[in-house]
């Protein structure tokens, strides 16, 4: 079913019906999509979920070729880790996933044949999704697909792609494989392919709804959403974690966790001082949590954000290094009327004073005992002659 070549002639609505997915389930999905991408995505720029549903149903199932390079398959997993509805199922009806190493039934030479056939049939129209970084060093031998270096495979497959979606930080800018010292020369897709429209969806893993928004928009009207200077869709990456963080009031009130498990941590205080990269990380995780469970995201469970979408932060800046704040907001704390001032009393200083005082006291006692003098009885010795002479005038 998944690898029917002719399936791309079928509209999404027909496919959904054939798969037995109810209207209600699909409407729920569309609502979720609208919530996930409220602004900046033409597809969801409608008033009702029904409108969105109608547009999507009319669209043809786009052919998607999904390549895996230096990856952990986490981005695929994130797509599948949904339950209400089973997004994995849903997605696989909406798009025609013609090549996916983890999900497809075929393997080996047959899998490669699927890929080549899909490329031929949908040349110029298919969406290439890349997951994982591409090694460049030593002719790219560090990642090979069917005997060919990843570089070559990418260039081949990209030729006929209408658009390339680099999903995950690894495909977007190199990710974990590119961490120092980057022994394989891993880079993202847009460092290699220069002549195709690329959408980067960084994250480790990114939110699945971002991918969906992009793909569906492309499917429904052939356009890609507005991108920022790093080719990231603005509707998902135009804000920082810090801007929408639910723990922001604690940041503003100066209530910071100092240590894992301390009182503040138990009260859900801000994790900035633990090295949360939220202020410097563009992603939507603060509003769209993971696995469709509220608060199922790093900060929600008390772990500081590591900035996994940002090339300059993730796997580069140590997790517990504090990032600068670019837009400060004053706190609402006040100094007390009589603040305690004064420098720390150094114990060495008190020791010195005590020691010197002791020395003086001891010295005085010892000296007092040893004050012995030979003294004359009188200051003046008067000779007899002078006594007789008496005072002169």
């Amino acid at each position: 079913m998944l690898t029917q070549h002719r399936s791309t002639r079928v509209s999404i609505g027909q496919q959904l019906k054939a798969a037995g997915i109810s209207r209600r389930t699909f409407l729920e999905f569309c609502t979720k999509l609208m919530v996930a991408a409220p602004f900046g995505l033409e597809l969801t720029d409608k008033v009702h979920a029904q409108e969105v549903a109608r547009v999507i149903r009319k669209a043809r199932r786009p052919s998607v070729i999904w390549l895996h390079f230096q990856d952990c398959t986490g981005c695929t997993e994130t797509l599948l880790r949904t339950s209400k509805p089973d997004l994995g199922e849903l997605i696989l009806q909406i798009i025609s996933l013609d090549y996916h190493e983890t999900l497809m039934a075929a393997s080996g030479a047959l899998a490669e044949k699927c890929r080549r056939d899909a490329m031929e049939e949908n040349f110029g129209r298919y969406v290439l999704v890349v997951e994982g970084a591409i090694p460049q060093k030593d002719g790219g031998v560090y990642m090979k697909l069917a005997g060919k270096p990843a570089l070559q495979v990418l260039e081949e497959t990209a030729k006929g792609a209408a658009a390339i979606i680099a999903i995950g930080s690894c495909a977007a800018w190199g990710g974990i494989p590119s961490a120092d010292p980057n022994p394989t020369g891993a880079v993202g897709v847009d460092d290699i392919i220069k002549n195709k429209p690329i959408v980067n969806i960084p994250g480790c893993p990114p939110n699945p709804y971002t991918l969906l928004g992009v793909v569906l928009q492309f499917a429904s009207n052939g356009t890609l959403p507005a991108l920022d200077d790093k080719k990231r869709p603005k509707f998902a990456f135009d804000r920082t974690i810090h801007d929408q963080c639910p723990r922001r009031p604690h940041f503003d009130a100066g209530q910071f966790v100092k240590q894992y498990g301390d009182e503040g941590h138990r009260h859900g205080w801000c994790l900035y001082e633990l090295g949360c990269k939220g202020p410097d990380t563009h992603a939507g995780c603060s509003t769209r949590h993971f696995n469709e469970v509220v608060d199922a995201w790093p900060i929600g469970i008390g772990a500081p954000c590591i900035g996994c979408t940002e090339k300059h932060l993730a796997f580069r800046v140590p997790m517990f290094s504090v990032v600068p704040i670019h837009h400060a907001v004053p706190p609402d704390t006040y100094p007390p009327v009589h603040a305690e001032m004064g420098k720390q009393v150094s114990p060495l200083a008190t020791a010195i004073v005590g020691g010197v005082a002791g020395l003086i006291a001891g010295g005085a006692i010892v000296a007092s005992k040893r004050v012995e003098l030979t003294v004359h009885g009188k200051a003046v010795e008067v000779t007899d002659e002078q006594q007789n002479r008496g005072p002169r005038s």
Binding site: G254, V322, I325, A328, V329, P330, P331, T333, Y334, P335, P336, V337, H338, A339, M341, Q386, R392
Partner: protein, 308 residues
Amino acid sequence: MSLVSRRTALKVLAGGGLGSLATGQSAQASEALPTPPADAVAMLFDSTICTGCKACVVACTDANNLPPDTKMSGGIWQMPLDLNSETKNIIKLCQDPAKPENFSFVKHQCMHCLDPACVSACPFHALNKGAKGVVAWDGSLCIGCRYCEVACPFEVPKFEWDRFNPKIVKCEFCNHRLKEGFEPGCTSVCPTGAVVFGKRDDLLTRAKARITDHPGRYFESRVYGEKDAGGTQVLYLSGAPFKSIGLPDVPQYSLAGYATSVHKFLYKWMLIPAAVYGLLVAIMRRRWKVHQVTAAREEAETGLKEQL
């Protein structure tokens, strides 16, 4: 034998002692309140109106080109604990920990006293009371002895401890703005009118009117600064006790007067020191002559010269 007998000496000492005691007592009791200058400017702060928005703190930092004190926040925002070398104006919170609903905000800055202790203490007039009664600091005269910090009963002047070229930093009533006809930074931004600017007489009248109009609202039904420390140019109205909002219990006369009254009397035209010098010289000449003659005689009799 001696020009000044023991009895005379003791009499002089006792007389001098009693004299200074008498002067001292009278200095305290009859010290008239210093007169404010004719164009004395003033601020009236009413802590029952202040909402603690701290706009005045920011405005002061801006108007005086000061670096914000961000030490407490790790370099992020301005969070001074007290007036210091980067903060000329601060809002503090006085809150009863047992009953948090009882609280009061208070604005602290230089009180610009009518007879400032710091001005009388400063050895070279680096702190002086200038036009409109503003107490300002002149760096070319200051030697950094910090006597002003010891003298000020409100503990206002602050010293730049960590700089090689340290300044004394304190509110100067935004002198540079007053010169151009503007209000000081803090009063110009207060959104509720908790701190207002005006002439001292006017503000004193207004403050007293407020007290009359709202009996029982203000602590002790009086304006702090009318006579405290001899009178100040920053007046306070408060619902909470003055001491709890950091306004110390100062006497109702000028501390500068207290500190210098005896000094002024004793050193007037240097008459008394000159007289004492004259007395000492007279005594010493007599003694010296005796000494010289005795030494000469001794040398003649015994051949023993006096040691140099």
